[in-house]
């Protein structure tokens, strides 16, 4: 704990030093040449540092939300499984917290080194956030997280409610930190106008700040849920006893439920964020949906479709381990048939969701040969997309309702789930991270050739929109790197010494 605190303190002091010196330094040397790293573009370096930081940060901010809920349910129901889930996820969180701090530090350093003028501008513009609010929140988050973790076995029994309260405090600080750092992030997309007379609050409370807060909060819970599924899958695969297998089967189910449950709201949150971009500047809409980024959204459609198929496949596999499922009927139709019909509807929904207005990555080269026939153009419009998303969400909810009815009649045989389901959980985590990387790039790229949209142009050679191919390669590499670290953290925190602990 001491090491973590020292690391956090060193990072904050370093950041304060940068904050205080950068502005003065560049006032004296206005044309200071930024560094460049041979063999890799400056943008890619910052991209990787930022994305890795966001992935770790998303988990450490998203996981505590359902961790504390799980702990509370465990306390109320007196079911030790919920407390164990909460504790194991928190254990992984504490390790990943260090990675969040390290990648955050790396992000700051590469920004200062490679984009000094922009960093100077942002730090000066948001000085109270960067120099006061964020460091204080970060220290608060560090102290409360470690207090939460180290008091787990002490604040038990009648004192358990106090421990839950610490968890709630952790989430309040976490969400405030998220909102604080979302301010400069969203400001880069939708700065207030005119900037010369804008107050700090107007810069914080810009067009896309609240939609970004909403989107990231829901996204973080989804992400945390799917990572919990990943933890459960790894642990299930390494389980030696039926009891362990039963517990991790249950944990995987809960993780998937959290991930899927939160993800049902994500399309709406994403739509609100995109609508705010569009309200801010109507040219962003076509840039995202019809021009340079249109194929990014095609890819996103495919990813979301696959994730909903996979999560429903997991529900199907979960149903298979309920005794007596075969006799359950819905409106006189065997439940198995109803679920299969649901898959046909999801496929139809995905097909509509993924059908673009055209297969050209820019309207500059759009021709009729690559576009939907005019009579079928409605397939690419928002009413059709909303209907498709509604269908997919509806079927997913119906599947959970069928699952609930099945467990009222039969018994769940925990630990007896098809082994393939563990790969489905891993697939969901992998796909969620990949999609986060892709859509994070989209949010950043809608600034076009500006660092801060309209206000601060990006004159560097890498200001162009990268191809989807380039982005896909980079996002895949980052996803694999993140998986490697998370897999190590799971192994270190939950697997090492497991045998010894059991023996003792």
């Amino acid at each position: 704990m001491k090491r973590a605190l020292l690391t956090a303190l060193a990072l904050i002091l370093g950041f304060l030093g940068v904050a205080l010196s950068v502005g003065q330094g560049f006032a004296q040397v206005p044309e200071a040449a930024p560094y460049s790293i041979p063999g890799i573009e400056n943008r890619a370096v910052v991209w990787v540092a930022a994305q890795m930081h966001i992935l770790f940060a998303a988990f450490i901010l998203g996981a505590p939300i359902f961790v504390v809920i799980s702990e509370w349910i465990g306390m109320r129901k007196r079911d030790p499984r919920y407390d164990r889930l909460a504790k194991e996820v928190t254990k992984v969180t504490t390790i990943l917290y260090s990675m969040t701090a390290l990648t955050g530090g790396l992000f700051i350093l590469v920004l200062v080194g490679l984009y000094p003028t922009l960093t100077s501008f942002m730090v000066n513009h948001f000085f109270p956030i960067f120099a006061i609010a964020y460091p204080l929140l970060f220290i608060g988050e560090t102290l409360v997280l470690y207090f939460y973790w180290y008091s787990w076995d002490t604040l038990t029994g009648e004192k358990k409610a106090r421990h839950v309260a610490i968890g709630v405090l952790l989430n309040i600080i976490g969400l405030t930190t998220l909102a604080a750092i979302n301010a400069p992030t969203s400001f880069m997309n939708t700065p207030p106008h005119p900037i010369e007379t804008a107050t700090l609050w107007e810069s914080i409370h810009n067009y896309s700040w609240m939609p970004l807060n909403l989107h990231r909060t829901i996204g973080n819970i989804t992400f945390g849920g799917f990572i919990t599924g990943l933890i459960a899958a790894y642990m299930y695969m390494s389980s030696k006893t039926p009891e362990e297998r039963a517990y991790y089967d249950w944990m995987g189910f809960v993780g998937n439920l959290i991930g899927v449950g939160a993800s049902l709201l994500l399309p709406l949150a994403g739509y609100i964020l995109a609508a705010e971009f569009f309200e801010f500047d109507a040219s962003i809409g076509p840039y995202m949906m019809a021009d340079q980024l249109s194929m990014y959204f095609e890819m996103q459609g495919a990813m979301v479709g696959l994730m909903f198929l996979a999560s429903n496949l997991y529900i199907w596999q979960s149903m298979k381990r309920i005794s007596g499922i075969e006799s359950l009927k819905i409106l006189g139709i065997p439940s198995v048939t109803v679920v299969k019909l649901g898959f046909a509807i999801i496929l139809l929904g995905n097909a509509i969701w993924m059908t673009p207005h055209g297969f050209s990555a820019t309207q500059a080269t759009a021709t009729d040969a690559l576009e939907l026939p005019s009579d079928w153009g409605f397939l690419a419009l928002m009413p059709a997309k909303n209907t498709a998303a509604g269908l997919i969400v509806f079927v997913t909810i119906v599947n959970y309702i069928i699952y609930n009815r099945a467990i009222r009649r039969g018994t769940i045989q925990w630990g007896k789930i098809d082994f393939m389901s563990q790969f489905v959980l891993i697939f969901l985590a992998f796909s969620a991270i990949w999609t986060m990387g892709l859509m994070g790039a989209v949010r950043s790229l809608v600034r076009k050739y500006f660092h801060v949209y309209i206000l601060f142009p990006d004159y560097t050679p890498e200001a162009y929109t990268p191809t989807l191919a380039h982005t896909s390669v980079l996002v895949t590499a980052m996803t694999l790197a993140f998986f490697a670290v998370v897999s190590f953290a799971i192994w270190l925190s939950l697997m090492v010494g497991k045998g010894k602990a059991k023996a003792s």
Binding site: S238, A282, S283, P286, Y287, A290, D291, M295, M299, A302, M303, L313, W316, K320, V336, K340, F343, A344, L347, A351, M354, T355, G358, F359, A361, T362, Q363, A364, T365, A366, T367, D368, L370, E371, L372, P373, D375, W376, D418, F419, M420, F427, F430, W434, Y449, I454, P457, Y459, P461, A463, Y464, T465, T467, L468, A469, S472, V473, V475, T476, F483
Partner: protein, 283 residues
């Protein structure tokens, strides 16, 4: 739930069903004149459906542990990586060359506005950009060949044309032909995202077709409209006008010289053969 069905038993009817659905989608989309790329996509949906329904009925997978489980995980990660990266590479790509040209223009404008920047720096930037661009173009051409099995020659601007364009942009010389310059500005600010000229541009109804705008509005009116979107409205675009779809920030983005050129170019468009909505004055 599937008993002990063999693999062939599991797939045979699903395969038949998928082939029938795929064929029906192929022919039906042909009847409704969908382009080939969409017809292929519809067939791929049928293929996806086949795999999903096979997965639903597969017997339980044998459990793996130890080294086998780790190896299976690694293969699974590689497979996911390959599929996602492959899909990203396979989908149509935006050619960054267009945007790079724009950025070069912006740099050149900055150079003219701020003579303190050394020409060597900008020359070096231009050289670096050109080298990167050429390399990217080669890679794109190879990629296209790999995907379609055809040479990319004859599709879009050739490397020679792009080199000429780059040279023209990098020269920093004041544009001598205002109409050509205006056309460049039209592309620079991506007006084609909402408007259509010569059959090229937005397929959705965002902004009016402009083929005959020169017969309906003067240069001054067009200039006013670009800087103040509420100045006039295209006939039949009430909804879009009220929603404020035309960006309001061109006063900040488009310089006076660019505005003059753009309006001159638009005023030169007098193709009476294409129905162009009439302007209705609002101010």
């Amino acid at each position: 739930m599937t008993g002990q069905k063999g693999f062939l038993d599991i797939i045979k009817w699903k395969l038949v069903g998928s082939v029938v659905i795929g064929a029906a989608l192929w022919f039906a989309s042909g009847v409704f004149e969908f382009p080939v790329v969409f017809r292929i996509m519809f067939v791929l949906y049928a293929v996806l459906g086949f795999f999903v329904f096979v997965l639903l009925d597969l017997p339980a997978m044998p459990e793996l542990s130890g080294g086998k489980a780790i190896a299976a995980l690694l293969v699974f990660y590689l497979l996911c990586s390959a599929v996602y990266t492959g899909a990203g590479v396979y989908l149509p790509q935006f050619d960054p060359e267009w945007e790079k040209g724009k950025i070069q223009k912006i740099i050149e404008a900055k150079k003219r506005a701020h003579p303190t920047l050394t020409p060597q720096e900008l020359n070096q930037q231009t050289k670096d950009l050109t080298a990167k661009t050429d390399e990217l173009m080669e890679r794109l051409a190879k990629l296209e060949e790999t995907m379609t099995g055809e040479s990319s020659a004859g599709k879009g601007p050739s490397p020679e044309e792009l080199a000429k364009k780059r040279a023209a942009m990098a020269s920093g010389a004041p544009p001598s032909d205002p109409i050509a310059y205006g056309k460049d500005v039209y592309e620079l600010y991506e007006c084609y995202n909402c408007h259509k000229i010569g059959g090229k541009g937005s397929v959705k109804k965002r902004g009016p077709v402009l083929d005959n705008i020169g017969s309906l509005a003067t240069i001054e009116q067009l200039k006013k409209k670009i800087y103040d979107p509420k100045y006039l409205m295209a006939d039949g675009f009430e909804k879009e006008f009220n929603k404020g779809l035309m960006p309001k920030n061109y006063t900040e983005l488009i310089s006076e010289a660019e505005l003059d050129a753009l309006a001159t170019y638009l005023a030169s468009l007098k193709n009476t053969g294409v129905e162009t909505p009439k302007p209705i004055m609002k101010k």
